[in-house]
Symmetry: D3
Subunit: 298 residues, 6 copies
Amino acid sequence: MVTKLGAPMLSDVVDALCEEESYQAVYHMPEHDRPMPSLEALGELVERLRAVIFPGYFGDSEIRPETMRYHIGGSLDIAYRLLVEQISRGHCFFCSTDDRTCIDCEVEAKRVAGEFMSKLPQIRKLLATDVQAAYVGDPASKSPGETIFCYPSITTLTHHRIAHELYKLKVDLIPRIIGEMAHSKTGIDIHPGAQIGEHFFIDHGTGTVIGETCIIGRNVRLYQGVTLGAKSFPQDDSGTLIKGIARHPIVEDDVIVYSGATILGRVTIGQGSVIGGNVWITRSVEAGERLLQNKCSL
Amino acid sequence: MVTKLGAPMLSDVVDALCEEESYQAVYHMPEHDRPMPSLEALGELVERLRAVIFPGYFGDSEIRPETMRYHIGGSLDIAYRLLVEQISRGHCFFCSTDDRTCIDCEVEAKRVAGEFMSKLPQIRKLLATDVQAAYVGDPASKSPGETIFCYPSITTLTHHRIAHELYKLKVDLIPRIIGEMAHSKTGIDIHPGAQIGEHFFIDHGTGTVIGETCIIGRNVRLYQGVTLGAKSFPQDDSGTLIKGIARHPIVEDDVIVYSGATILGRVTIGQGSVIGGNVWITRSVEAGERLLQNKCSL
Amino acid sequence: MVTKLGAPMLSDVVDALCEEESYQAVYHMPEHDRPMPSLEALGELVERLRAVIFPGYFGDSEIRPETMRYHIGGSLDIAYRLLVEQISRGHCFFCSTDDRTCIDCEVEAKRVAGEFMSKLPQIRKLLATDVQAAYVGDPASKSPGETIFCYPSITTLTHHRIAHELYKLKVDLIPRIIGEMAHSKTGIDIHPGAQIGEHFFIDHGTGTVIGETCIIGRNVRLYQGVTLGAKSFPQDDSGTLIKGIARHPIVEDDVIVYSGATILGRVTIGQGSVIGGNVWITRSVEAGERLLQNKCSL
Amino acid sequence: MVTKLGAPMLSDVVDALCEEESYQAVYHMPEHDRPMPSLEALGELVERLRAVIFPGYFGDSEIRPETMRYHIGGSLDIAYRLLVEQISRGHCFFCSTDDRTCIDCEVEAKRVAGEFMSKLPQIRKLLATDVQAAYVGDPASKSPGETIFCYPSITTLTHHRIAHELYKLKVDLIPRIIGEMAHSKTGIDIHPGAQIGEHFFIDHGTGTVIGETCIIGRNVRLYQGVTLGAKSFPQDDSGTLIKGIARHPIVEDDVIVYSGATILGRVTIGQGSVIGGNVWITRSVEAGERLLQNKCSL
Amino acid sequence: MVTKLGAPMLSDVVDALCEEESYQAVYHMPEHDRPMPSLEALGELVERLRAVIFPGYFGDSEIRPETMRYHIGGSLDIAYRLLVEQISRGHCFFCSTDDRTCIDCEVEAKRVAGEFMSKLPQIRKLLATDVQAAYVGDPASKSPGETIFCYPSITTLTHHRIAHELYKLKVDLIPRIIGEMAHSKTGIDIHPGAQIGEHFFIDHGTGTVIGETCIIGRNVRLYQGVTLGAKSFPQDDSGTLIKGIARHPIVEDDVIVYSGATILGRVTIGQGSVIGGNVWITRSVEAGERLLQNKCSL
Amino acid sequence: MVTKLGAPMLSDVVDALCEEESYQAVYHMPEHDRPMPSLEALGELVERLRAVIFPGYFGDSEIRPETMRYHIGGSLDIAYRLLVEQISRGHCFFCSTDDRTCIDCEVEAKRVAGEFMSKLPQIRKLLATDVQAAYVGDPASKSPGETIFCYPSITTLTHHRIAHELYKLKVDLIPRIIGEMAHSKTGIDIHPGAQIGEHFFIDHGTGTVIGETCIIGRNVRLYQGVTLGAKSFPQDDSGTLIKGIARHPIVEDDVIVYSGATILGRVTIGQGSVIGGNVWITRSVEAGERLLQNKCSL
């Protein structure tokens, strides 16, 4: 008798879960036969781009200058197609038109993916400066290559610099997913909208948050637990949050922010300033200023 | 000669590791032929439940109202059986009786799994409010669906609201494992015992900790790095920690706690109050109070 | 026409990425036909060692005293070979000699892997004390076995105590990778160089950082978000960071450091002292001192 | 020097293989962005159909009458979509139009897949008779269920009866692939065009071949190494084989053909006749005739 | 509109397939919560036994005499448990009792699996003679090891000698499945009931069939397409085949049977006789006789 | 008590299996730390070569002329390295020297793999003629592409033409394994030594065997169950088979051999002759002769 007990109960639960009232707020009705973006495909996309950007470190580790064109060309061709498909899916997720063929949408996805591809040399160039920043900035690192291969800072920035280009191209949903993949892996949460200059380094990094409208200059160094966040959330007359306005800090060149510091609002942290650990700031800071822990500290 | 060097050494190490004195404190003697809970099975369980709760977002993304019963029914049937097996294993992990057949234990596991299943509509209802809270609370979010698909807050709460129902049903070990799976993925550590009301949102979330005996009201919002912890650990006469007593905060409705704040002990954070970032609190807070950063801050 | 648009663009991107100027700073030229260390193999290595250290909890959960030698012997033999290969790869990553045969290097890798293996009983012994510390130190834990199976503290310390032995044996790169694997999973970032005594426990742990030259005594307990870091980075005359000097705290026996505390520089936290949450310290602390939150706190 | 030898050679080979003259006869130019049929997807399709046809034997082996609708409904919905996609791919493989949108093609694929689905109860009914035939016809079989679970005859006929319905619906390429999957697994090569009546059994089966235009009645039994083939291949005036004409045997009800027998051409093997092993036949056989091994045999 | 067409149709098909009349002959009602035997587990079982029997060829190819006990012991312990579980499932497949606990059945499965294990040294001994026979009997083979590693004859006999021991122990279903696994891979169909002496070799082998009650002596060699089958199938009064009676040939020591020969019925092929290719025999053959192709041949 | 019964028995079996007397004839002692050839790696090798030979059919099915160099170049580079490794392992399997460094062996493996690669355009050219032969020779085929994608004849010949080139380069063991992989999949057993001319086709193919020293001309067609074998095996004075002498048929251009025919010994089947089904031949056949079934046939 025992094994059959479950069934009637199961049937009731299925009934309850299949009532429209129950599912309507949490159900995604597939439009245009296009499924949700695939985390697996996006994972492969990032891995292929990582292999293209850092040849010999990721992907085929026996790549040689003589064979580099083959491997990079093949990976890019596949990455391009993966990206076209995922851009279409991301677009479709928000799409409300009733155009069943989606042909314009595919043409657009191809155009956007192509533009993204043309940014890869620039993305690599920026990441090469980040590698240098990580090597120079961490006394425990033994070679730039070590930071490429196993530093969370480089992992996160590889995701971010890819996601940010897609964000600039107004790709839907995909940049955010790519950012969250790095967030899950490293504990560093950078919104794809954030603008980050060259030679950027985050040491350790767990818990660091960089908001959507941040602008970060060159040669900036952060530590773990740093928040570059919003101070308040303006609402419209109906009490709804106004989305998209500049609300996060501007951090100028050569700034260092130590662990646990919190900087909120559209303030400017002036060039060369140093922000101490655990400090809480909601005002702008002069260039060159050193805001260390307050006197109350022990 | 070289390749054989390893062997005698290996044999010595094996000898040392197989001495009872060496292994006794770290060895799990299998009882009743029942293996340890399976992380893989629990991962599948949560994925199936997630697909059932958010149809079209997870699992089969082409599910339609006409086919919903099939997919939800099939997933639940499998989830039910996975859960029965894992509940039995979790129970067996702590079990000390010598009843070899374990039949009562299987009957009980089926009863408990059945009760859990009947809670799923309610779990979905709560999560739907959490989705709404995430969408409303984050200016960077573009649609409720986006928060379902890629916000750590929803990932964590899906795990937690499942784990908490199992915790209430006194299931051993499994709730904790489900909680730790989310902790590893999102950096948010919610003990399955914590009671959390509807419309809950944790933005960014890395490093946030919510303790076992916390009680959190409706419409509460937390940020990253928030601790709702215990202040002290009463010991009994022998110096052993007393387990299970209420020791974590009560957070009433409509409270906001900013990043890095620490609230310790069985204190009450009154309705509608706001706790500023990096603040350290070990006392109760009045309803409506705004505890911002202390004056010493910069 | 549409599908063919991508190709010329692709070709240009490939050209740009294959110019030596573009790739030289981010390319790893394979030496001696030896590929990069394998994250997959290192993952298997750690899983096998975890199964050997905690028999019945990980790996084959039906291991019995009568069959323990088989399973432990077999796992160790495979782990030994995995380790020899990865040590060689890690060494080769930094190697600059032109000795094509690498035979000496393999002999050395075997010697080092053998020495590591002989440390396993001692590693287990230490971890058994960490298990005890987790059980005793967390009122929410129900048995020592539960902490072995699902506490981030034990996961992290298993990685660390393995990585630290490899670090002491001067193995290249591999210890750091093993440490970062735990960092990604638990949010706890312990440099493999850190010396940590027995009975160590980190509760929750997300965001906690322990630097390369830390020395931690027995019976120490940390919480989440704790930083044991460097205060400053001495540079040589050319402005380059001097690597390898002692720059992180010494934490003596029986110390507790609460969440969010930051301790920087080669200071000594004396025996039995207690460091409160969110506290910022750059000086030594007397034995038995209790540095709680400063008076400015709310 | 050694490791670099390969590269110039490789480049020459790539050049040679990328000359149009070299690849033109063996290259499939992708049309309409539609890839080749996927063997993996077709494998999953057949597995899902097998699970639907023989519930409890394949797929979820704990399916109960109360939950059967869920599992069968869910599997069919997924199978339907897999089939639509593969039918489209198969069609596209031969398609020569330049209609870029392929919308008509998708509509057609859905119609055909829907028709196929409606044949499944009939396919199951036929296979149930084959199961009975296998059980009755093999003295070594212990139950009908055993033949479902592990007899090559049932494996092959499951593939064939599916492939034959698709063949009748004029689906391109897919039926042949499904047939070859069974051929590879069992050594029995049945062309999807062959018409086979109920209660069919092939014992052992390796090497048995049944041609495209065969018509086989009810209650027929074959053994291994039997050929039901074509005798000659009429050519048109240009010497090209004429495709599609009836050229294989008609085997009436209740016939038995023993191992190694060869029957060629559009001959009729009359009802109830018995064809002996290794016999070679190119003429029709009367009903009830027993053609045993010729007198020359030993 | 198009995408929704499928659903009503699907619902009708599901209805039809879930009518008891439709499924009753092809449905396996799970008894005692015990699922069907697992092909995957049986595949692993055979791989583990193969690795144990031929150390260094299969499984871990770096096994050394010093570490052999570990690997063989570990593999056997796992194989033993896999076998216990699969024996129970196979038994349950045919079981009709209503004893819900199945405890006796598990005790029996353990006893049988234990007996099987004790036969392994003998199985290896026999297979070692088969290896020798393959090496000696095939002019194309270069070493005994090559036949172990890649000859279908050894693959098949490894399966058979395992399956035959299980058959002798009256294990249900499992021996047949193990036999069919080899049949699918090599095209050689040996019923697990067949008794085969030492030094047995089948060259090429595709299409060769050896029936359930065959008895084959020592030093016998077969080629491809050989049938050792039944001639007729005695029926009881009701017309049902009588199962289990001796109906296949006895082949004495030192016999050779060339390709395509068919030997049917309970005849005896005398010691040292040679049966020519494509020959059809239904009578006994004297010791030493040479039955070559009949005179009619070309 | 029950669960522990297994252990002492297990220990005895392990003891018996680890006695040198038991394992010596079936144990492969690893030499030079080089493991056995990997079936998985060889599977990948063949898949990559298949994708290179038939672009668009296998591997990436969206390959375009503009991207072909990338995909073919990348696949060949990886295939080359897989092949070098497997050639070395195959050589090592038979190697008896005591040169520990094996460097010469690696140099040689690279030379041989390089030579093989240079043969690929020629292999493709031959296979293109086989594709044509399959399309022309089978009335059921609808396009040459269909034969590439799913005909066993093309599968087998792809394996064989690769294996034969490796055989000519005197590579150990690997050619045989590649041949057996096709044998298992298609039931066609072609020894890698067989020389086969262009435009070769085997219809259905199961059970067909082609021996090591066969020489087959152009435009030859075989059917299933055909044997091109050896008639006798000359022995040396000690009774050992003499290995490597020419002992299989020569089949000249334009020959057809129907199903089940057996041709044995170093005979010549003259140009344009036709060999009927089930025929047994041990003598040469004149050019143009038609050897149909003998008169005794029915």
